[in-house]
């Protein structure tokens, strides 16, 4: 029986093995056909109402799953895929920002601002795919790795006192998320360089050629982001790769000289610009590895309405002139709540080459004024109180008239409510009293339970963890102003916990105000879905409207840092004087001292031994000289020398004269 059974099993094994091999091979071929490493480069330009220009660079690389081609990397940066694999990152976002997004004039309701307006400094959040007790270790290692990769001190986020675990108010809500910010981190060229090195063409070709450092950092706002999404997790067995989005958003002031020349009389005309006048460079062809390589010019709803552009006459633009003809024009899908539509002009970089570089310019003919779409409530935050002991944080929300009509359109049967999420992290030395939370609606104090629907608080622990407050507010739609205040005590730090420039004050990171019922999205009518651009598909995603408040600077009591040294010095002196004199009194024997003095006096009288020792020292050379005589100045040596020479010469002459 055994002998009979064995071949069967063998056959079965061989059969299944072959089948498996075929299946695996087929599967990999199929996957490779679907998922190739892809790279796209796009630039979006958008004129802003306050005579500025927004430039938004969007680079996206998608890496195929690691199982399909092992450790080989074509377009996707190896460093990033190793990072994802090592720390099992599901999603991560790192942003370096300089300056503050001006929500009032640059808007806050479009996908561009809600996903690219970031708090100043460094912001990092990550979602891990590891067991709960490993997350903190992964986070620590991730911060160190990122600090090495991007030349920044992100590793300060490793200590538990700096990062927090948002429960539900932070949009990528999940239990495994960690969130940390460094508001005072400097952002400069050294952060941009490694970021550019992740691109397959770096800044040597394609749209990234425009990234001229001095003109970028001269801008009003600069935000450089890195967003990672690992679409599959290995625990589920399906691994579909990593998507890396790199965006750079800058707000620049175009040189207005050209406009002044043309229309000297008109002051309110928008400055005309071109790529070469803003960046000082032109695009000489696309990065060969980029599949869609395109530049967009976006006229937002307000601007197109001000221009009188509608879906019928968008080809004729009476107020401005473009230096290049757009390849395509997209119109926004009409939505219920606004009459005007955004218009998108598309330019394909592929058509241009070294001899004929791409340089789009926009020349305004008549002055145009418009407003960007605002967030439902404009949020700002400030400090109250004075002195070094206690103060209060206030978050004020002000209704923007712009969206009032929109809100009323959204309301159903009278009971219209506006939901606002507030996420606030405070460092441990700002000791917040959560019971002192007060809410004002239209300048009237209201009961906390009326307005606050849900609250989650995790108090800070000294030197251990920061304080986190997550609040859901339900405000009536007709609200004009609302305010939250909370009191805090200023803590004391140890002397080694103060920063080198402690007198400047300590930062409280931005609060995040989000409106989960509102979604910013911009859907453009596209005739072919094949040639889909990642930037436009990103705009179509429904992202919640978010805004960041200002960073607060809290002055803490700073000691006189030289005080410990003074104390030590004085104490030491006092002790030395005391013990010295006591020892002196105890140890001194008068008779011994007198004998010593006598001996010394006897030594001094003998001149001959001194002379002899001097002579012997001179004969032996310079070595013993410093023991006897202090080094004398050169002028003195010279006079001595001359005297000696004269003496010897006189002696010789006398001798000769005497004997002759």
């Amino acid at each position: 029986m055994v002998l009979l059974q064995r071949p069967h099993i063998l056959l079965l094994l061989i059969g299944t093995h072959q089948f498996l091999q075929c299946w695996i091979a087929f599967g990999s071929v199929n996957e490779e056909g679907q998922k190739q490493a892809e790279f796209s480069e796009e630039l979006l330009l958008k004129p802003l109402p306050d005579h500025k220009l927004l430039a938004h660079f969007h680079f996206q690389s998608s890496g195929p799953p690691s199982t399909s081609n092992g450790c080989h990397h074509h377009l996707f940066p190896k460093a990033i895929s190793q990072l994802v694999q090592k720390f099992r990152i599901k999603e991560m976002e790192l942003s370096f920002t300089k300056g503050r997004w001006n929500y009032e004039s640059w808007g806050g309701f479009d996908p561009l601002s809600s996903s690219n307006a970031k708090p100043p400094g460094v912001e990092l959040w990550a979602v891990f795919d590891v067991p709960q007790h490993h997350i903190d270790a992964s986070w620590k290692n991730l911060t160190h790795t990122l600090s090495g990769l991007f030349c920044a001190s992100i590793n300060f986020l490793e200590s538990t006192a700096t990062y927090s675990t948002p429960e539900w108010s932070f949009p990528p809500a999940s239990g495994n998320v960690r969130y940390g910010t460094l508001p005072c981190e400097a952002v400069c060229t050294e952060n941009l360089t490694p970021w550019l090195k992740l691109l397959p063409c770096r800044d040597k070709a394609g749209i990234a050629l425009l990234l001229d450092r001095p003109s970028l950092y001269r801008g009003f706002y600069h935000s450089q982001q890195l967003h990672l999404t690992s679409t599959g997790s290995s625990s589920e067995g399906i691994d579909s790769g990593i998507i890396l989005e790199q965006t750079l958003t800058v707000v620049l002031q175009p040189n207005s000289e050209m406009a002044i020349e043309v229309h000297a009389s008109e002051k309110h005309i928008q400055p005309s610009w071109s790529l070469s006048s803003i960046f000082g460079k032109q695009v000489s062809g696309r990065c060969v590895l980029a599949k869609p390589s395109s530049v967009y010019l976006l006229l937002d709803r307000g601007l197109s309405a001000a221009n009188g552009l509608t879906s019928e006459n968008f080809w004729s633009n009476p107020s401005f002139e473009l230096s290049a003809n757009p390849d395509r024009i997209f119109l926004e899908e009409s939505s219920s709540h606004s009459k005007s539509l955004s218009i998108l002009y598309m330019f394909q970089v592929e058509k241009y080459c070294e001899s004929e570089p791409f340089d789009i310019g926009l020349m305004w003919k008549v002055p145009v004024a418009w407003l960007c779409q605002q967030t439902p409530l404009h949020a700002s935050r400030f400090l109250m109180g004075s002195g070094n002991e206690r103060a209060a944080i206030a978050i004020s929300l002000k209704s923007t008239q712009f969206t009032e009509g929109f809100m009323s359109a959204n309301s159903k049967d009278g009971s219209c409510e506006l939901r606002v999420d507030v996420f606030q992290v405070v460092p441990w030395y700002v000791k917040v009293y959560f019971h002192s939370l007060r809410v004002f609606v239209d300048q009237q104090p209201r009961a906390v339970s009326d307005i606050i629907e849900k609250i989650h608080v995790s108090p800070s622990k000294d030197k251990m963890s920061p304080g986190v407050m997550e609040v859901v507010l339900k405000l009536p739609c007709r609200v004009n102003t609302a305010a939250l205040t909370i009191e805090f005590d200023k803590g004391f730090l140890r002397i080694d916990e103060y920063l080198p420039d402690a007198n400047q004050g300590f930062d409280i990171p931005s609060a995040i105000i989000s409106f989960p019922n509102f979604h910013a999205s911009m859907v453009f009518l596209e005739d072919d879905s094949l040639n889909k651009s990642p930037l436009l598909s990103k705009f179509q995603e429904k992202c919640p409207v978010m805004s960041y408040t200002e960073v607060l600077l809290v002055p803490l009591t700073t000691p006189d840092f030289s005080m410990p040294y003074n104390v030590i010095t004085i104490t030491c002196t006092v002790f030395a004087l005391y013990f010295g004199s006591v020892l002196n009194v105890l140890q001194r024997s008068v008779a011994e001292e007198e004998r010593f003095l006598k001996a010394k006096a006897a030594k001094k009288t003998g001149r001959l031994p001194l002379l002899l020792s001097k002579l012997s020292a001179k004969l032996r050379g310079r070595r013993l000289e410093p023991l006897h005589s202090p080094p004398s100045s050169s002028s003195f040596i010279n006079s001595k020398l001359v005297l000696k020479v004269i003496l010897v010469a006189g002696l010789a002459v006398g001798w000769q004269y005497f004997f002759s």
């Binding site: 300089k98 620590k140 290692n141 160190h144 790795t145 600090s147 090495g148 990769l149 030349c151 920044a152 001190s153 590793n155 300060f156 490793e158 981190e185 400097a186 952002v187 400069c188 060229t189 050294e190 360089t193 490694p194 800044d203 450092r213 001095p214 970028l216 950092y217 001269r218 103060y498 920063l499 080198p500 420039d501 840092f561 001179k618 004969l619 050379g621 310079r622 070595r623 040596i637 020398l641 000696k644 020479v645 010897v648 010789a652 001798w655 004997f659 002759s660």
Partner: protein, 400 residues
């Protein structure tokens, strides 16, 4: 069976001494291999915070640019900058740092990699970098991964005083801390040769206690180091004198130049520096005339010609070849030494242990040495006077 075993054991017995011999040879040859200069590292530290210390960052970045130009790659440079000057809001030229008022050269080009910056530049981190005792999470780009074949350039600038250097205006690196770190590095075979270059007030005191290194400081004890010039557009001084003249020396060089360390050291003019550049070589084995500056400020390896590729035997040959090379170089250097001799008067020799040792060994040579030196005229005259007395006595005796 025994007959089979016996030859085998005999063979083993014969093999054993052979192995021992081989191992001893290998052991002897291994230091030769270890002594080879295989790589270059640079640790460049700017320790000053605040805008008015712009010049310190410009100093460090100038050195960074120089060593990069002379061939040390970015991953072998640890750059520590205590503050952000390039994108400082006070900087009129964003993302640019200049070390000269002509603004011809942007030191903060497109390819700067800063490893430690801002609050990370502390004494602790500095000593961790030197001694290599990091946390496990610290990435490789922030570590000094040198070995026993490394030449390390350690450049520091900031505000300092007698035996200390201030970090961030809040803590100090003391000379014995530095000496301790250097000693640890020596013990751990983290370098073959180390050049410490310090541009600060009373710089000479900082490395007084460091063992086994070559060091150069911008000023002696009790002297200040001064800035070179003020840029009225930037609003602050942009470079220090010592670094300015160091750069002036290096700007003339390229990676193929053979200029020696002694020519660098003798290029400092105390009247231009307004301080006395002090160098310390008493613990350094090689002659400075034979050491090209690119040994520390660049990454130029000696090419060794071998006939057989990838063979262990070529080791000994290479050692011999190296000797020949050095002989060859010394011949080349004779000419340069002659030139240097001319400048000898300007050179400041503060420590001269050779002279002291030589006095007991060979009086004639010391006499000759002393003869050569202008400053020993006094003793020479004394010798002459003493020698005249017997002459006088003899001559009078003969006359009589």
């Amino acid at each position: 069976m025994e007959t089979f075993i016996n030859p085998k054991s005999l063979f083993h017995l014969l093999l054993l001494p052979c192995l021992l011999l081989y191992s001893s040879i290998a052991y002897n040859s291994s230091p030769v291999e270890a002594a080879m200069h295989t790589n270059n590292w640079a640790v460049l530290v700017c320790t000053s915070r605040f805008w008015f210390n712009y010049r310190h960052m410009a100093n460090t970045l100038s050195l960074y640019r120089t060593v990069k130009r002379l061939g040390i790659p970015d991953e072998r440079i640890i750059l520590m900058l205590a503050d952000d000057m390039a994108c400082n809001t006070r900087n009129k030229y964003p993302a640019q740092v200049f070390n000269n008022e002509n603004h011809r050269l942007n030191l903060y080009g497109d390819n700067v990699e800063v490893d430690y910056r801002g609050y990370e530049v502390t004494v602790e981190n500095f000593l961790r970098v030197l001694t290599g005792r990091h946390e496990t999470a610290v990435p490789r780009s922030k570590r000094l991964l040198s070995d026993e074949g490394s030449h390390i350039l350690l450049y520091m600038t900031g505000h300092g005083g007698d035996e200390f250097l201030k970090f961030q205006d809040s803590e100090e690196l003391q000379s014995h801390d530095l000496a301790d770190a250097v000693k640890q590095m020596k013990e751990k075979h983290r370098f073959k040769e180390l050049l410490i270059m310090v541009d600060t007030c009373q710089a000479a005191t900082l490395f007084n206690q460091s063992p086994g290194v070559l060091a150069i400081g911008s000023s002696m004890k009790g002297e200040n180091s001064y800035s070179h010039h003020l840029d009225s557009d930037v609003g602050v001084s942009v470079v220090d004198r010592f670094t300015y003249y160091t750069l002036a020396f290096f700007e003339r060089l390229n990676i193929y130049d053979n200029a020696s360390l002694s020519s660098l050291f003798s290029s400092y003019n105390p009247s231009l520096l307004m301080s006395t550049a002090y160098y310390r070589k008493d613990l350094y084995k090689r002659r400075l005339e034979e050491v090209p500056v690119t040994n520390f400020f660049g990454s130029v390896m000696e090419t060794i010609h071998t006939d057989a590729a990838y063979k262990a035997l070529s080791r000994r040959n290479s050692g011999r070849f190296e000797d020949e090379m050095s002989l060859d170089q010394s011949v080349h250097h004779i000419k340069r030494r002659m030139l240097i001799k001319v400048n000898d008067g300007d050179e400041i020799h503060d420590i001269n242990p050779e002279g002291e040792e030589g006095a007991s060994k060979c009086p004639w040579s010391t006499f000759r040495k002393k003869f050569q030196k202008a400053e020993n005229v006094d003793s020479l005259l004394n010798y002459g006077l003493v020698a005249m007395i017997p002459l006088l006595v003899i001559s009078t005796w003969l006359v009589q």
